[in-house]
Symmetry: C3
Subunit: 480 residues, 3 copies
Amino acid sequence: MGSLCSYLGPQKNTNIRVGLPAVCFVWQIAMIVLFGVFIRYNEEADAHWIEHRHANNISSDIENDFYFRYPSFQDVHVMIFVGFGFLMTFLQRYSFGAVGFNFLIASFGLQWALLMQGWFHHLDPSTGKIYIGVESLINADFCCAGSLIAFGALLGKVSPVQLLVVTLFGVTLFAVEEFIILTLLHCRDAGGSMVIHAFGGYYGLAISWVLYRPTLYQSKRLNSSVYHSDVFAMIGTLFLWMFWPSFNSAITDHGDGQHRAAINTYLALASSVLTTVALSSMSHKGGKLDMVHIQNATLAGGVAMGTAAEFMIQPYGSLIVGFCCGIISTFGYIFVSPFLEKYLKLQDTCGIHNLHAVPGMLGGFIGAIVAAAATESVYGAEGLINTFDFEGAFVNRTVGTQGGFQAAGTCVAIVFGLVGGALVGLVLKLPIWADPADDNCFDDEAYWEVPEEEESFPPVLEYNNHMMNKHQDIILSSAF
Amino acid sequence: MGSLCSYLGPQKNTNIRVGLPAVCFVWQIAMIVLFGVFIRYNEEADAHWIEHRHANNISSDIENDFYFRYPSFQDVHVMIFVGFGFLMTFLQRYSFGAVGFNFLIASFGLQWALLMQGWFHHLDPSTGKIYIGVESLINADFCCAGSLIAFGALLGKVSPVQLLVVTLFGVTLFAVEEFIILTLLHCRDAGGSMVIHAFGGYYGLAISWVLYRPTLYQSKRLNSSVYHSDVFAMIGTLFLWMFWPSFNSAITDHGDGQHRAAINTYLALASSVLTTVALSSMSHKGGKLDMVHIQNATLAGGVAMGTAAEFMIQPYGSLIVGFCCGIISTFGYIFVSPFLEKYLKLQDTCGIHNLHAVPGMLGGFIGAIVAAAATESVYGAEGLINTFDFEGAFVNRTVGTQGGFQAAGTCVAIVFGLVGGALVGLVLKLPIWADPADDNCFDDEAYWEVPEEEESFPPVLEYNNHMMNKHQDIILSSAF
Amino acid sequence: MGSLCSYLGPQKNTNIRVGLPAVCFVWQIAMIVLFGVFIRYNEEADAHWIEHRHANNISSDIENDFYFRYPSFQDVHVMIFVGFGFLMTFLQRYSFGAVGFNFLIASFGLQWALLMQGWFHHLDPSTGKIYIGVESLINADFCCAGSLIAFGALLGKVSPVQLLVVTLFGVTLFAVEEFIILTLLHCRDAGGSMVIHAFGGYYGLAISWVLYRPTLYQSKRLNSSVYHSDVFAMIGTLFLWMFWPSFNSAITDHGDGQHRAAINTYLALASSVLTTVALSSMSHKGGKLDMVHIQNATLAGGVAMGTAAEFMIQPYGSLIVGFCCGIISTFGYIFVSPFLEKYLKLQDTCGIHNLHAVPGMLGGFIGAIVAAAATESVYGAEGLINTFDFEGAFVNRTVGTQGGFQAAGTCVAIVFGLVGGALVGLVLKLPIWADPADDNCFDDEAYWEVPEEEESFPPVLEYNNHMMNKHQDIILSSAF
């Protein structure tokens, strides 16, 4: 039925029969080779664990990092695949693309992430190997999140081959900026306000800006939701919302670090919901709520707590963060996105500017402020060292300095996103990627075999035609 | 399209543009202030944990309560937001309201619950602070469940402002009855048959009874499901059903307490499914199953095991509980609900009478009987003390006395629900809440911006009109 | 509306009003009696745990197996009920049956599985009791999976009573083959490539082959998806995909065993996605992706890692397995299933041949090869013993012998599936099971009360009739 579109204008060639399989096969074979050369199990996942345990006097298997992090890993995994995937099913005729391409991007990206993050963070110089465990899997999922956020800005306007290019460069850029921010600048960013959300948000916006489509209005009829697609999107929203405490606590310190990060995120999210609802209702003259706001801005508190969640921001501090970010994000959906589209020529399908870019940036600066305000009386002497990892080369760093570096880290993430995105956008402008024409956007018909039958039962059109034929007989017989 | 309703009768004003934002902002600001005054991290979530660990000779971070309860917390969290939310999406045109208002109520309620439960149970008199950890989050989610159950009776018939009032009083009443039942009467009620389900069920029924709408039949056309809304509701049912073992075990004793509660609930639920299916098929002359029963009554075993799950009820005991409650609940949907509506003027949209009120009450009494039947040979001397917490002031309580108190606790919960609900119902009858008119119930159009386009592709109506116009030409030309 | 079907041909009697309730009640009562005689809590779930702990010098409650396995159990539980259930909702008019009968089968089967597996593996000869804990629940869920896989081949063509028969025998056969493979042959098969997938797949195929319906094309119009049913199915796909690492690691050894199994499965699944996408695109002349492939073949890597996941297959080995199985499974959907249907008269609704039977068989042989290739340098001396459980009567078994036994185990699973399925198929051909007629297949109307109204708002048919009536007036008045 979507093929109706084919009558509306000239079509670009969206045939990906050669390109997509070629990229997938080449890439997957490269991954196998590189994994063979570089990647092994770490000592907690290796069959030598029992010997490692005895040698290190570890009293029980329960001390294996698996039991500290696996439940959080699974929650993060759900956020990446169901959360991001279903959040984007809101378009009436792009649900296959939303959930299917999200699946493809993440599966593709996480393998490359294990390598890139391994080379930067976990390469053992003595053996030349990267040793992976459950924390590596969480980090790989996080790394994909950056590219999935960018996908949100591009939703419906690019081909799957382009998305794989976005992911390839996105993961690469992510690993580099993460190395600079976490290792060189020694920032803390457990839930990734900076490295994931600010980076991913600005990366996607820059790409989308370069790929501006002046006649996108031609597919405007498809760039909206229908009733049930909005309900599907709420599945994504809720799984993101519920599991965000796991996201922000997945790789924080064992014990109080994970515990505190979960509590803070839980509270910030709850607070976001109330201010989002309030602003959404205020923005409509009849006081009606807008699903776009409920689906997205309610999550802003989680994004903004990505850095500060593991700090002693206190429960009321978390509520304040959620309060403000719910307002800012909803405000963004109401006023800023239309402004950006009109004056900056920025087409941002899912509004990642309001959900990831801005709250992520704010989250980075909130983290800087909370870090700078840390005191030994609040954290305890040991707690302060543990929380900010003031060890080794950083043993003499003060909290004030740490705050400065956190702010610098946020800027690094944004610069990487903007510059990297602009460059990737230029690559994607090459006429070889089988992207859809302007009047063919937001339509699964371009890249998917869409079922032809409609849900109406019995088929309404046929039934009506039948009625009309009967009808016509009456008419004709009555006319003559 | 739902705006068609506007032709059917006089409309009440459902504009919530002032009321809803006002309540949300005032409330959220109050929460921030109260959290600032009262709420801090407990010693397991505070950065001083490392010092606490050493001082108390705790050998490992894995002993942090976070690792005992966080996976169960996340399951409970899913039940509250996806489980309850999607279970209520079954109405053809109230899915936004179901999942959206559920989201709002729970986010609103959990903050107030942390304070109310904190004041009653965790206020440290030496510092005047409430110290929260993962168990507090679980309890806050539980506390919201009471109000969400009440929402089930009111679904489609009240405004979001009214729902916030229901939640505000619901959480308050919950905290008081919980204090009486768990602390003063020293009952055990880990999964809340009494404090959550019996209370929440009767609370919602009493409100609904006071708010009786004699001409509700005017919106009867919308008070039913369509094919896909029933499938959405099954998402809610299944997440509730699967995670109910976590619900009943989330705050039970470490070790055998959590382990046993999960097993018992798992078995009771399985047993409920079979008797629900059996009764559903028997009740239809063609033997056909009814989705209403499958969506709801299959959960009755979990509700009824809320108290007894942590006791030594034995696996066959759990099966018996599920067996009976599946029958009773399905029977309720077939016969009791229509009776209540006709003769008691009780309009209970989701049938919470059959899923929460009655199974919850039964669960309370089952708990009383199982407690009274406990023996030292079955539990072990230490096990008996641990399970019923016969310590401190209660060191001399016998199991028989405990059983009596459990039964008394059930009655307290019901009385709180009925009396509290009646009073709240009276408050909600004030003509200031922007509730919908009788012919405007069960319709998202009242409080949501509903997408205008339908899924039919190409648009059926336009197509048909087009056909008819063509048709008419033929007619006209043939007629003259 | 589906009742339109009733005009298309003679109907079989699908009334299950006597049969289904009778089976459910008899069965559930039998379960209660047998659980009463045989089943008790094991020492970790019993109130005597505290004494057991002290007697065995267990330092903390966290050492209770509950904390090692409960998060994985819940993930497996989600796979069984939401994963399998929603994966099968892809048919346009059989979503109630898919998710509802899946619910019934699993609830029915898990009780019988606890008994059957208990008798074979956990019966304490001194007391005559079976002692259950969280691992028993996981195994019971696994055991149901075999029958749910078989359901995939039969979807839409059998009555719920027949499905209960399939499950009763399926669980029984499962317990026997599992005893032979795991205990007598001493194979390792943590994620069940052999005992679950190969067995379940061939069991379902054999039943379907016996029940061949030559005129099934009569309900061909319903044997396909619509847009939203494909989106629902993706919920199933993703929860299966995300939680498969938990499935394969749920019952492996504490510590490195669970850790490694999760990593391997995660990687194999990611690799499967890329080759599935590649092949799906290649198979369509426009390069378009097919939802059937994305929904199913992406999971093949998880199936094929069911045996080898706990071995030291290395990360690149997992990628290779996923790579190959994604190709093989997609190839199966494109070429093999149509071939089987045409030439072998095998009607396999969900294509379990390609998702479970073949990848399961391959997984068994992959496990055999990886086991035979194990060395002490890779596993460590203790690690090798732990991984393959070379203890007791098997202390002298070599890895080569182990590999041989693993291969033999795979054959046992296939033979049990084929022979058992053929016999069960014959039982199901008896004319007493209220199965649907050929033109009534794939239609919920047969066994469910389906909502009558359609989603079109305002109701299209009524509206059109109204238009036509008006229309007719014009016509009539113009004609005369």
